[in-house]
Amino acid sequence: MRVALFITCLADQFYAEAGVAAVRLLRALGVEVDFPEGQTCCGQPAFNAGHWGEARALARRTIDIFQDAEYVVLPSGSCTSMVKNHYPELLPGNREALALSGKTYELSQFLVQVLGVEKLGEGLKGRRVAYHHGCHALRELGVKEEPLLLLQNAGAELLPWEAAEECCGFGGLFSVKLPEVSLAMASRKVATLPQAEVLTSTDAGCLLHLAGRLGRLGRPLRVAPLATLLWEAYAGQS
């Protein structure tokens, strides 16, 4: 089985090690991994802001780049939903967009739904984990149980968090167009956060935002993308 990794621009720039983790994990599970080098951004920021001309151009080039892939896997729920749900809306009647949509998966979704893997190892034994449900993973992709299952089966203790399914306030451009509201939302997430060792999520954007807020509010906490933790689940903490 061959997977083309779409690292997504935020993970590429801010959580590069999560990309490495995803590659190692997929290889360890017997999957060949390609990284088509022309890839950049899926175009979601432009799409969400209403600049659909720009978004279409980026969608088209992304479709071209991943055209020959057997599967496309992203360590991001939001960008996965962009490719899977919004490309076909943005390019109605475009068959390549539909084809790409059908073979695109968020990482944990791919592991559980396509590979049928539910247990990666026991590398997270006893680790106290707070899981933030990224909104697009949760509500646009319906990815809810997959990450929890993989974390739990690796021995992690998933801590109850009343705001786990609430939006963190990142929202892409929202975070800078309405910074005060965005920060107030992050503060609510942080204020309700349980005593965890690590905070994780599918989405780099949410984590960047929450990590920044935690830092500003003086709450040191390890923040790691799901891909990183899943690799640790397999290989133990390095």
Partner: protein, 468 residues
């Protein structure tokens, strides 16, 4: 009502800065509503109920002319006087006429968002009529001279101490008076108003075409009183409020209650067929005003027409983490929160309301809560797109998007950008001139890119074999 939707970003920021208690009150109240809704949805086959409600509303909207004419006919047969209004002008004309003919000195009002749209209170006051909002929350904000901040709980932004202070200043109650005591004071004032008012004004949750039934939901009893005690009852009804059959109320009344407050049914529902029969208690005269005020324009909109399904339950406000931070005031119009963000651009025009569709992270919680399945995130995106098409996006954003698309459209430029990002920190003087970057860093600290981007690391792990 004065429209200030264009000021949303500034007003939201100002409120968070200047009145932090609003955030606490609104968050507390909406989370409470939301928990109740989830419990109430959990008790039924919510998906089936919502789907049926959506289909019935779509049926009504795609046959709206037919049902309006049928409703009008039935209402007239029931002895109700039917009026049509484009907006405030016709509504005000009718009220002037009613006030003059019946010598109205006092009016009692049941909470109605449509009457906010139409500016009913200022008009009546200009005619020398004493107007009493009779919903307790609405009465509180009337005393304060504020607009409602929530469709269902108009005063959810007020904390108990603020209300205690208000009653202390107004009625001399102790500053630590219990809510029960304050409610009794309000009850006394408003009871007197109910018993002496000549005119009762209400909106309607639904208007049943088959029977000409006005259905109005509430928990306090003030709507039953407002529509029962005064000689004249005037109901303002948006033309989208129709239901085909009396039976449809058996779905919409409980579904709306579950969505709004988590109740199985509102404590009181008034099902009004007309004026009192001879010898009966009740109003001698009932008027129904069918109001457009932007709704036909929305109906003509190939995408946004779906917002006309809205039953004004407020569930999307309660579910919305953006709304929860500020309540409704910064939105600057009658309808706030997610539904306001997709409805107001339709009712007011995009030019007046274009910042509102951006008051969302597109998290999708609103759509899951909506009892009539309005695809709010999709419509938010559609309005944002139209704003861009109409040149309403700010200049900096257009420039930023063009640059973004250029960089992301070329792997070479993207790699350059990637290098530049690692050249950070930018000189402070330069950062100060990058408002976007500053908007990020002010509350979150400096951006910390990975030492090397993944696309560089890839070259090293490309040939790596299993085991890492």
């Amino acid at each position: 009502m004065r429209v200030k939707a264009k000021l949303y970003p500034k007003e939201a920021a100002r409120l968070l800065q200047e009145k932090p208690s609003v955030r606490a009150s609104v968050t507390g109240a909406t989370l409470h509503f939301e928990r109740n809704r989830l419990r109430a949805y959990g008790e039924i086959d919510a998906e089936a109920w919502r789907e049926r409600a959506r289909r019935i509303k779509d049926h009504v909207l795609t046959h709206l002319d037919h049902y309006l004419e049928l409703a009008e006919k039935r209402l007239r047969e029931n002895g109700v006087q039917v009026h049509w209004a484009e907006g405030p002008e016709e509504a005000h004309r009718l009220l002037r006429e009613v006030v003059a003919r019946h010598g109205v000195k006092r009016a009692v009002k049941a909470k109605s968002m449509l009457t906010e749209e139409l500016g009913v209170n200022p008009l009546l006051e200009s005619l020398g009529v004493e107007v009493y909002e009779t919903d307790l929350g609405e009465y509180l904000i009337q005393l304060l001279g504020e607009p409602p901040s929530h469709i269902v709980g108009p005063a959810i932004h007020l904390s108990l101490p603020e209300i205690q202070r208000l009653f202390h200043d107004r009625f001399g109650t102790p500053l630590d008076a219990a809510p029960e005591a304050l409610a009794q004071v309000a009850r006394g004032v408003l009871r007197e108003a109910f018993l002496t008012a000549e005119l009762g004004i209400s909106g309607a949750n639904f208007l049943v075409a088959e029977t000409g039934t006005l259905a109005v939901m509430e928990n306090e009893g003030n709507i039953r009183l407002s529509t029962s005690l005064p000689r004249v009852h005037v109901a303002f009804v948006g033309i989208e409020k129709l239901l085909p059959r009396f039976q449809d109320l058996a779905l919409f009344l409980p579904l709306t209650a579950r969505a709004a407050t988590g109740q199985r049914l509102a404590t009181f529902v008034s099902l009004i067929q007309g004026s009192a029969q001879p010898g009966e208690e009740g109003p001698e005269e009932v008027h129904v005003v069918l109001v457009d005020h932007g709704r036909t324009a929305l109906l003509a909109d190939p995408e946004a027409w779906e917002v006309l399904r809205c039953v004004r339950c407020g569930a999307c406000l309660n579910a919305c983490p953006v709304y929860r931070q500020t309540g409704g005031h910064p939105y600057g119009y009658v309808y706030s929160g997610p539904i306001g963000a997709v409805l107001d651009p339709g009712l007011l025009g995009l030019e007046e309301a274009h910042p509102l569709p951006h008051a969302s992270t597109l998290c999708g919680a609103c759509q899951e809560a909506c009892p009539v399945k309005i695809p709010i995130p999709k419509l938010l995106l559609a309005w944002r797109h139209r704003a861009v098409e109409q040149g309403l996006a700010p200049t900096w954003e257009k420039g930023a998007m063009r640059a973004f698309a250029q960089v992301m459209g070329s792997p070479a430029l993207y790699r350059l950008f990637s290098k530049a990002l690692r050249g950070l920190p930018l000189p402070q003087a330069l950062q100060d001139h990058l408002p976007l970057l500053r908007a990020w860093t002010e509350g979150r600290g400096p951006l910390k890119p990975s030492p090397r981007p993944f696309h560089e690391l890839w070259r090293e792990i490309k040939e790596e074999t299993h085991g890492g």
